[in-house]
């Protein structure tokens, strides 16, 4: 048994390189029983590489990983689980068609040949009662909410005997409320019997009871991987800051200011400056009582020259709104009008670029002209000058490397594929830009380039809509913010009124009490300058 406070998990001098890129360099990190240790850093700082190494999906080039003070070789996910490390992934670790009980048994070390689903369901119920994380074990998890699915993940890790719980960006898809609830549960899990029930609220209204038999849950070590400072401040006992693969700061709870953490995260790279939007011009797209999919009777105008941010917890109608705005889907009821240019002049940057906007097996130049095949020739053949000109602009706008038009797009790195897609879309001089999660998966430099390019498009007279789950990004770029909740616009805030708290409240359905801004809103738009 590990004495309280001794490190359960240690990383000592861990290095990992992918080709010429040093993803992680000389990282030391330890997690002790009874604590929540936050690991923070920007996208691309090396967090997910560390996560994968601890989960047994990658092996370090150098350095050691120790569990209970003994060096371990985490050569597979199973080894890592056997060593007592439970991982709650950001994506992909539940089979949607399986029930929670089936998911619990999938890949479980020492499960035996026979599949005992009833026992597994009982086990889940018992753990649910102990932790207050109740889920229905017999429903396909694909039908559960995002928050419930995450509970299944946590319960699975606990039932597998985890003593260290590693959570990779666990709040990315949760509402602020759900996120707070999760943090509270993590607190009680970490505290275990040693400290008894924690001071923080152990669950919101309607939530299950706090752990009833803490004696049965020994204190856990929790490693919380996140890029959200707020969570660090709320929950972490200690924090380790990662930048460009190296540790740039270590702090205990409460001994560091937010600015310092930010500086350690972003380094000397210039922080993108908030846009100063000009006056909004004519209406470029107008929705009137439009409904589609999850979207219910939404009215909205987007004007030339403005950047409209769309916030909301994932799954509240964003996808459908993007489809309508971009002219990709027709409304089930209501109207969508593209007064200028029509859907043809819409730049559309979908969330999953590789899946929706790129033909990886075709050459770069084909991808560059893919949306303009009607203007590059006739049955007699292609207009090569025009093809070359379009290709050149698409490549140069964001600097695709290598700039080889004849190579297949599959040759490009993920970041460069995104640059190509965004370059193609923005080089059209579009009247309207609809971008979903435009910086997701990009390294910080590329992300800044994309944000700048969107800003330039607005300055050049385009109406720009940015849908993002990253509230901080939206607050930075948007001239105006609308919040989607359960398919409706529940807030429409000009930049000045769009504080973090106001937006977060709206994301869980709180409408403004002031009464002077109604959610459905041509009128409010008209009132805004």
């Amino acid at each position: 048994m590990t004495p309280p406070g001794a490190p359960l998990l240690e990383l000592a001098g861990v290095d990992k390189a992918f080709g010429p890129v040093q993803a992680v360099e000389g990282v030391d990190l330890d997690v002790r029983a009874g604590e929540i240790h936050a690991l923070i850093g920007e996208n691309g700082a090396g967090k997910s590489t560390l996560v994968k190494m601890i989960a047994g999906l990658l092996r370090p080039d150098r350095g050691e990983i120790r569990v209970d003070g003994r060096a371990v070789e985490l050569t597979s996910r199973r080894r890592s689980a056997e060593a007592g490390i439970g991982v709650v992934h950001q994506h992909f670790s539940l089979v949607p068609s399986f029930t929670a009980a089936e998911n619990l048994m999938l890949g479980r070390p020492g499960a035996g040949r026979r599949l005992r689903l009833r026992a597994a369901a009982e086990e889940l119920r018992a753990w649910g009662e102990r932790t207050g994380l109740a889920v229905d074990p017999d429903v396909p998890v694909g039908r559960l909410s995002v928050g419930e699915r995450q509970r299944v993940e946590v319960l699975t890790a606990l039932a597998w005997g985890a003593r260290v719980l590693l959570l990779d960006e666990p709040t990315a898809t949760l509402s602020p409320d759900e996120a707070d609830r999760l943090l509270a549960v993590l607190r009680t899990l970490a505290d275990g019997p040693a400290r008894g029930p924690a001071g923080e609220p152990a669950g919101g209204p309607g939530e299950g009871p706090p752990p009833t038999s803490p004696a049965e849950t020994p204190p856990l070590g929790v490693l919380l991987v996140t890029h959200k400072l707020r969570e660090v401040e709320l929950a972490a006992d200690r924090v380790t800051v990662l930048r460009a693969g190296r540790v740039t700061g270590r702090h205990a709870r409460g001994d560091v200011a937010r600015q310092r953490l930010v500086a350690e995260m972003v380094g000397e790279a210039p922080a993108p400056t908030p846009r100063t939007g000009g006056p909004a011009g004519e209406v470029r797209v107008a929705l009137r009582d439009a409904a589609a999919g999850r979207l219910r009777r939404v009215s909205l105008d987007v004007r030339a020259g403005e950047v409209l941010g769309v916030a909301g917890v994932a799954g509240n109608g964003q996808t459908d709104l993007v489809g309508l705005l971009a002219g990709r889907t027709a409304p089930e009821s209501g109207e969508v009008a593209h007064p200028v240019g029509g859907p043809g002049s819409v730049a559309y940057i979908p969330e999953d670029r590789a899946r929706d906007a790129l033909a990886a097996e075709l050459p770069v130049w084909v991808n560059a002209v893919a949306t303009r095949t009607h203007e590059i020739g006739s049955w007699r053949g292609l207009d090569r000058d025009r093809v070359a000109a379009i290709t050149r602009r698409a490549i140069e706008l964001l600097g695709v490397r290598p700039a080889a038009p004849d190579a297949t797009a599959a040759h490009l790195s993920g970041g460069n594929q995104q640059r190509l897609v965004i370059g193609r879309e923005l080089q059209l001089d579009p009247g309207l830009v609809v971008a979903a999660e435009p910086t997701r998966g990009l390294d910080p430099a590329s992300a800044r380039d994309v944000v700048d390019a969107l800003g330039r498009a607005a300055a050049g007279g385009a109406a720009v809509v940015v849908v993002s789950s990253d509230l901080d990004e939206l607050l930075l770029i948007a001239d105006r913010l609308v919040v989607l909740f359960e398919g409706r616009i529940v807030a429409d805030l000009p930049r000045a009124a769009a504080t973090r708290d106001a937006v977060a409240a709206a994301m869980v359905g709180h409408r403004d009490d002031d009464g002077d801004r109604t959610p459905d809103l041509p009128a409010a738009v008209g009132a805004a300058p």
Binding site: A360, E361, N367, A370, I395, P405
Partner: protein, 408 residues
């Protein structure tokens, strides 16, 4: 079990990153390529990747890509051919009493050795190449039409109906009418699977195959129990009446069986090749590679896929007419002889490009003609199919291996 375009059809193409424009039948942008040159002028742009990346120099990239492509093409052809020859020698040695090497020489000389042999091989290659070229169009749209066998059979039936309808018209007119009817018949026979594919998402592979299997019975019935039956009372097998000799396609080369149908292949290859270099061809490529992207560009993917599907079926029907007028001179149940299946394979081997497809059709014709000849030496002709299987898996395998190297 819809096999989606994103995952399947142009698989061979999909897994061959080392083959840019030089060998994939697509024109690049203007040769002097301003995009590349211009981009190179700003090497220290802050956006660029690692500045030491040699791949950032476009002319180097281009030359290297061309060299790689040429090498890849050579390997892609040579290795599977060698594997096929190896399997041939091995199987002949292991399973038969014949001498492996002389038998192989016999296979070659009987299919390529003299004018007669070449004529026979060319004649066999004609329907294969036609179906293969048609299949290229469908494959490019991400449609795996394997119904060529039935479409070709129904094409021949439709051509025969046209012959009946046109009566004593001049031969060229009958040929033309027969060709049009055959194309329509072939397309009609694919309409069901096409609708099922786009409306209900039923795998076109399975539906076209089931149609093939059902058509065997339907054709037997047509040629046994209907007016299409050979009126000669002495005939008891399922076959139709012999064509008026004036309607037989003339021999292209005196003294051989090579008929004017070869010209149909030449035209089909040329037209398809040209089409791949037009915006329309590009749109079909995009539909095949990523329908969502194509839709974003204002294309209706489903409509285009149906069109490509029907074009392939129409060409298969046309192959039926060519076979009727050029070779069999009557409707028979054996008129198609598996060409509908092999035609798909040659298109796969040719990676949906018309000219290589026609060349692979020749290779397949060699295996069929040659295998028939060596049967006289006690080597079953089914060995020809084994060779085709080895070629298919071999070519795909080499492409897979190259792609695997490319990914590393």
């Amino acid at each position: 079990m819809t096999v989606e375009a994103t995952s399947t059809p142009r698989g061979p193409e999909a897994v061959t990153p080392a083959a840019p424009e030089a060998d994939d039948g697509r024109p690049g942008p203007a040769p002097e390529s301003p995009p590349a040159g211009h981009a190179a002028g700003r090497p220290d742009d802050p956006h660029t990747g690692p500045p030491t990346d040699p791949a950032a120099n476009p002319s180097v990239v281009r030359a290297a890509a061309h060299a790689r492509a040429a090498l890849a093409t050579a390997v892609t052809v040579a290795v599977p051919l060698a594997a096929a020859v190896g399997v041939f020698l091995l199987l002949v040695a292991a399973a038969t009493d014949a001498e492996p090497v002389p038998t192989f020489q016999e296979l070659l000389s009987s299919s390529l050795g003299d004018a007669d042999a070449v004529g026979e091989t060319l004649t066999r290659a004609v329907p294969l190449a036609l179906i293969g070229v048609g299949t290229c169009v469908a494959l490019r749209a991400g449609v795996f039409n394997v119904g060529g066998e039935a479409q070709m059979a129904m094409g021949s039936v439709a051509a025969y109906l046209a012959v009946e309808a046109l009566g004593g018209a001049p031969a060229p007119l009958v040929w033309l009418g027969g060709a049009v009817a055959a194309a329509a018949g072939g397309a009609l026979w694919a309409a069901g699977p096409a609708v099922l594919l786009v409306r209900r998402g039923v795998s076109e592979i399975l539906t076209t195959l089931l149609v093939n299997l059902a058509t065997v019975g339907i054709l037997t019935w047509l040629l046994q129990d209907t007016f299409l039956q050979d009126p000669d009372p002495a005939v008891i097998t399922a076959q139709g009446a012999r064509l008026d000799p004036r309607l037989e396609l003339p021999a292209l080369i005196e003294g051989t069986r090579v008929h004017a149908g070869v010209l149909a292949v030449v035209v089909a290859v040329a037209v398809t090749w040209w089409w791949t270099r037009t915006p329309s061809g590009l749109r079909v490529d995009l539909v095949g590679a990523n329908p969502r992207l194509a839709a974003h560009g204002g294309v209706r993917p489903q409509a285009l896929r149906i069109r490509a599907f029907l074009v392939a079926a129409a060409v298969a029907g046309l192959a039926g007419a060519v076979q009727l007028f050029g070779v069999s001179h009557r409707l028979t149940t054996g008129l198609t002889a598996g060409v509908g299946y092999s035609g798909v394979l040659v298109a796969v081997l040719g990676r949906s490009r018309p000219l290589p497809t026609a060349l692979f059709a020749l290779v397949f014709a060699v295996t069929v003609t040659g295998a028939e000849a060596i049967e006289l030496d006690g080597v079953p002709r089914a060995l020809g199919y084994v060779l085709q299987g080895v070629l298919v898996v071999g070519v795909a395998g080499v492409q897979g291996a190259l792609a695997w190297r490319g990914r590393r």
